[in-house]
């Protein structure tokens, strides 16, 4: 029996079979050549022209806010949106409870709410082990291994499991013979396997099994003692004209004793000029200070015949007086993916061949590096632009290939950058600084302009009879105040701690005394009863659960934020009432907290910590958010013509799309009252 290992482990055993991939590509190429010849023969060739079947393109802009979009349409910053709205429809699109991307997109995908699809937050908790965990996917290594001295051979393959329940709408379409291409749909990692072509997006892990862990190499003294979230700081010095350092991979799944795999790299600085040469294996790059490298492939040898294929981007921040080198999270290389990131398996490789390597990690914008101060705002924006440009560049061949059926394409840049740049447009924000923020005041408008350009590009390149749908999953608001639910529960006696000195709280439930705790919070909006028989150390008898929930809900709604004089929470939802779908409801929190617009949950509390203060000013870089009362942060829906079946919220949008493609009865399991 081997113990649980992190995600890439078992996948290291998968040999990337180039021959097979090349063969299947060749096989696929045949029919498309035939179609191309036919189209030419019929004399109806032309960019993006279809074959006559119904065509629907859905562009998903994560976090596009209804109010901001309307505003920019009025000021003329979004002419294509405005044009489309005239011929079609534009309006708000109701989001999910809570309004968080994995939940919201799962509502769209399955036509069900979280009670049906089982994604209630970014973070859930394992009630048996009582630890926070990711909500959308789970990695399991092969249970059995053959041990040979210090080596072990996994018997049977490990797997990464998608935890979202319910049938995705595209698989219904495929069953009816409608071809679908689903690019970067959130909460779809590993890819469902049921679309004709799929690339996984938000939720896809980096080589360490995380949403993204960057590395930072510096010669600053004691720098490595600093713990940062989402990254690791390493000390590195120049000696005799060279800096020797290592890239850090996951634990080697072939070793019985846990041991991280590493790959050496060298940096040769010019002794006088701000430039250096980087050497990673057989790869060489010349980088000026302030420059980003392209993707540098890096191979981690596991055993002689097996290796992991990663890639990373380097950013040379400074050479003198101190070395400062940022290295992006190591992404799985789409040219040789060791984990499933696309359907068919070599589709990611095909895309990379056509428009270059790209971030495979689900949320590529490195917000963690900005929060940790490793990148400043300009550097972060440069990095986010690189990531955004890759996705825009990749859109061109995907759109060109689209001839019929459904194309979904996702853009996450607007959401991630809005999170970091919101204060520049909110003078009321506690961190707003008119001087420092002035250069960034136009960033958000620029994001909306870019989205508008993508819509313009699509209109120029699609067939006239295509239905274009532009949508977002939720809106945005300034995040001025933070509320720690766990501290609130503690102060009101619902939660007990082991050490009352909360400044020492290590988080991850470590300081919670379960034997005296009746309720706790984890995730961005979830509140759970410490229920006997469900939670490992549950103490609340099931008969008392309901009364406890009501009591907490009433108290939360009556809580006033002393800084604003306003209620901090405007909605408290009981899961049995707010969710109409069933099947996965047991996974969810007992109460879902709808913070007032402008307020969000505190980070520490989200990971099971109990920080000292209930309310704090938001003084971090993360200044925009949407994890609030869902009615205050709707997304958008823009269609090039009125829909046969209008959709008012994410949950019933897929049914409308299917109706346009001639398919009724989705989802099969939905609450009939909703239809």
């Amino acid at each position: 029996m081997s113990r649980q290992r992190r995600a890439p482990g078992p996948c290291g055993g998968r040999v990337h079979n180039v021959l097979r991939a090349a063969w299947s590509r060749a096989q696929r190429a045949k029919p498309s050549l035939g179609v191309a010849a036919l189209v030419l023969a019929l004399g109806c060739g032309g960019g993006g022209q279809g074959d006559g079947g119904p065509k629907v393109i859905v562009l998903g802009f994560d976090g596009m806010d209804y109010g901001l979009a309307r505003h920019f349409m009025e000021t003329g910053a979004m002419p294509n949106f405005a044009r489309l709205a005239e011929s079609g429809r534009f309006g708000p699109l109701g989001t999910s409870v809570p309004p968080l991307s994995p939940v919201a997109w799962s509502n769209f995908i399955t036509g069900m709410d979280a009670g049906g699809h089982g994604i209630f937050d970014f973070i859930h908790r394992d009630p048996e082990r009582m630890i926070p965990e990711f909500s959308t996917s789970k990695a399991e290594s092969s249970e059995r291994t053959l041990k040979l001295g210090k080596w072990q051979i996994p018997l049977g393959s490990g797997k990464i499991e998608l935890l979202r329940k319910g049938e995705p709408f595209w698989s219904v379409l495929e069953r009816r013979g409608v071809e679908t291409t689903i690019i970067r749909m959130p909460a779809n990692f590993p890819p469902s396997g049921s679309a004709s072509r799929e690339l996984s997006g938000m939720g896809t892990i980096d080589i360490l099994g995380s949403p993204g862990i960057f590395s930072y190499y510096t010669s600053e003294l004691f720098a490595a003692d600093r713990q940062v979230s989402g990254g690791v700081i390493y000390e590195a010095w120049e000696e005799d004209g060279v800096v020797h350092a290592e890239l850090h991979g996951p634990d080697n799944p072939f070793l019985v004793e846990k041991e991280e795999v590493t790959a050496d790299f060298e940096l040769y600085p010019d002794p006088e000029e701000p430039i250096a040469k980087l050497v990673v294996g057989s790869e060489e790059r010349l980088l000026k200070v302030g420059e980003w490298s392209d993707w540098v492939p890096v191979t981690f040898e596991l055993i002689p015949t097996q290796s992991l294929h990663g890639m990373c981007r380097f950013y040379l921040k400074a050479l003198r007086p101190e070395l400062q080198l940022y290295v992006s999270p190591i992404n799985f290389d789409p040219l040789a993916p060791d984990i499933p990131i696309s359907t068919p398996e070599d589709y990611a490789t095909e895309l990379a061949r056509r428009s270059g390597r790209f971030y495979t990690q689900g949320m590529p914008e490195d917000v963690q590096a900005l929060k940790a101060g490793v990148l400043d705002r300009r550097e972060f924006l440069a990095q986010a632009k690189i990531a955004g440009d890759e996705i825009r560049r990749q859109y061109e061949p995907v759109l060109a290939d689209f001839t019929s059926g459904l194309l979904f394409y996702y853009f996450g840049n607007l959401d991630q950058v809005s999170h970091m740049m919101f204060r520049a447009i909110d003078r009321q924000h506690p961190r707003y600084d008119p001087v420092a923020d002035a250069p960034f005041a136009g960033v958000i408008e620029e994001l909306y302009r870019q989205a508008d350009e993508i819509v313009g590009y699509t209109l120029d390149h699609m067939a006239d009879d295509t239905l274009l749908i532009v949508m977002s999953d939720h809106g945005f608001a300034s995040l001025r105040r933070r509320m720690s639910l766990n501290t609130w529960l503690y102060e009101r006696g619902y939660l007990a701690v082991k050490n009352p000195d909360l400044s020492q709280d290590p988080g991850f439930f470590a300081n919670i005394d379960w034997s005296r705790t009746r309720a706790y919070a984890v995730g961005l909006n979830g509140l759970y009863v410490n229920l006997a028989g469900r939670e490992r150390d549950g103490i609340v008898p099931p008969a008392e659960r309901r009364a406890l929930m009501e009591e907490i809900a009433a108290e939360l709604l009556a809580t006033i934020d002393p800084a604003t004089g306003q209620p901090a929470v405007t909605k408290v939802y009981r899961r049995e009432e707010v969710y109409r779908d069933r099947g996965a409801i047991d996974v969810g929190p007992d109460l879902i907290i709808g913070f007032a617009r402008g307020t969000g949950g505190a980070d520490d509390s989200s990971l099971g910590g109990v920080p000292p203060e209930v309310f704090t000013d938001n003084d971090g870089e993360w200044t925009g958010d949407h994890g609030m009362d869902h009615e205050t942060v709707p997304g958008i829906l823009l269609t090039s013509r009125p829909l046969k079946r209008p959709a008012t919220e994410l949950k019933n949008l897929a049914a409308s799309i299917l109706a346009e493609l001639g398919v009724e009865g989705f989802p099969a399991t939905a609450d009939p009252g909703e239809k």
Binding site: A22, Y268, D270, L286
Partner: protein
Amino acid sequence: MINSFLRPLFDGLLYPFRGLHPLVGLTVVSLVAAIGILYVFKLTSNQDKLAAVKRKIHAGLFEIRLFNDNPRAILRAQLDILRHNLTYLRLAMVPLLWMIVPLVLVIAQLQFHYGYRGLDPGQSTLVKVELAAAAGRPQAILHAPAGVAVEAGPAWLPALNEVAWRIAAVEPGDYELDLEIGGESLSKSVRVSNDVVRRSPIRPSAAFADQLLYPAEPPLPRGSAVRAIHVVYPPGDAGIPGWESEWTWMIVFFVLSMVFAFALRKPLGVTF
């Protein structure tokens, strides 16, 4: 010297295939090589003796089948086969020796046609100047022609005895980079093209071994303070995506030549 003759010869021979899929040219080249190998084999080997030895080996194998209940006979037959095999190797060695020099020259030329992929416009790569001796920072200037842009450098890397630049391909074409290193004027070819054309990743020193290994470009002058100038080309894939390696074409070449040689030995009447 030979190289300066071979370079235009191979450029000319492979010219018709430059715009085609690399496998087309490689197939033809392998076919020609197979025929060449067979002819050299026929001319330089003692075909009669080879045929005789092969018959004896077959006889030995037959003997083993025949006397399979007589260990002594089997042992003797095995020793005979071994002896004849050695004779076969000796006989085959002569044509192999004849072939080795031309083959090395041919392979070296082909390496620079098929071993590397071209630079596309927009693609960046490094120009590296290897210095002969460690000294202070050399004066270093790179004059780029119109089709190539200098993006970064010069970087002086004393630990590597190297001066490097990053250049970007702008427009397709054949270019000469003009370098001034410590007062010395040198040039290095760079090709921006995706065709099957000769690419020279290294302009070598005048040393014989370097010239043998890197025949794609005339060597640097003797006594230069520069040991070699590199332009890094990405490794080729012989037209098979996913098989990027400098040696991919060679595997394809050897496999195809063998197949052709076996297929053609009867029609050409060659025993081997």
